[in-house]
Amino acid sequence: MTPRARAVLLVAAVACLAIGCAIGWAQLNAARISQAEVQLKARSLLSVLPAERYDNQPLQRPLVLPAPTLAHSTLLAGYRATLLGQPSAVVLHSRVQGYAGPLDLLIAIDSHGRLLATRVLQHQETPGLGGKLSEPGNTWLRGFEGRTLADTPDPAWALKRDAGQFDQLAGASVTSRAVIRAVHDALRYFDEHSHYLLGTGEHE
């Protein structure tokens, strides 16, 4: 065998071995990876809900949302949390166009249409400006907690500079507007479909 043929053979053998190793490792870990993904999703989804608010497994029964395309945002998923058999809250996964790309928000609304909490799932905003939203316990995001459509009328859902009620996140007015619109959309959607979302109406 010529040295050249031997070298080609060796390279081919290494290639096969490398690909084999990678595929084998992927197969070996496939179950664990999907389990980890489900767990991470559950952790992040449920982080908007205080633990004493529910005793079911909201993620196991996602709601089928009618007309999920809203004025400024799109609802990707919805989950119902129940406590002692009574619906206690709804978690909506909303996607809105941010400054640099889609911005995914989780919005938790209690059974009276009051906003419980909001959290950013993923974003591509500028680090240090709009990106601050994803910091846990962001004070600006917490400013929405407790709001309802009753105490904050439609025109008030805007930045103060747009004649609304909300401050903006410093240096990130586009991001701030996107978040305000998404939260407003979600609250309106909840009011329009509250019976269906809570499972209390005749639509069930």
């Binding site: 390279v11 290494v14 767990q39 240090g128």
Partner: protein
């Protein structure tokens, strides 16, 4: 361009993953691990190969290593994986570059020193970015700021390390 500066440049693609000290530490750890494993795999193969074949095998092995690394991250540390994004995969570039630079100066101790140096620079970068970022300098948190910081760090390093002055004599003795 000499092989050492090539190696330092291999830090550049990793700059995005040095926003905080924790991130930088994770990436430094993973690159240390991958670089050592890559070198371990390459050592028995190198005498059998030459030229292009070495490069090919080195690229293949680097790709396999980072694929396995990424899969392991997804299985055991999904949150870390989500934070780091594509950067663990770019460690393959460092592996290949280290391999290239090894063809000229061999020696395990020297190689290990080089790798530890790289990881230290990365850690320092993470520390600087975290400190400056929390002090309110936003540029430090952005990737271009990281590139400037890397340049500054290297400049300071070159200033501090006193090399013997290069001989002004031209031609060979």
């Amino acid at each position: 361009m000499n092989s050492r500066s090539l190696l330092i440049l291999s830090l550049a693609p990793m700059l995005g993953a040095s926003q905080t000290l924790a991130q930088a530490a994770a990436v430094a750890l993973f690159s240390l691990l991958s670089l050592c494993l890559h070198r371990l795999c390459m050592t028995p193969l190198r005498p059998l190969l030459q030229g292009l074949q070495t490069t090919l095998v080195s690229v293949l092995l680097a790709a396999m290593l980072v694929t396995c690394l990424e899969l392991s991250l997804r299985a055991w540390a999904l949150e870390v994986h989500a934070q780091l994004g594509i950067y663990p995969a770019l460690i393959a570039l460092q592996c290949v570059l280290l391999e290239q630079s090894f063809e000229r100066h061999r020696g395990v101790a020297q190689g290990l020193l080089l790798v530890i140096g790289l990881c230290t620079v990365h850690l320092l970068l993470g520390l600087c970015r975290e400190l400056l970022g929390s002090a309110g300098l936003r540029l430090a948190q952005l990737t271009p700021g990281a590139l400037i910081l890397l340049g500054l760090l290297l400049a300071i390093f070159n200033r501090v390390r006193r090399k013997p002055a290069p001989s002004s004599r031209q031609g060979s003795l």
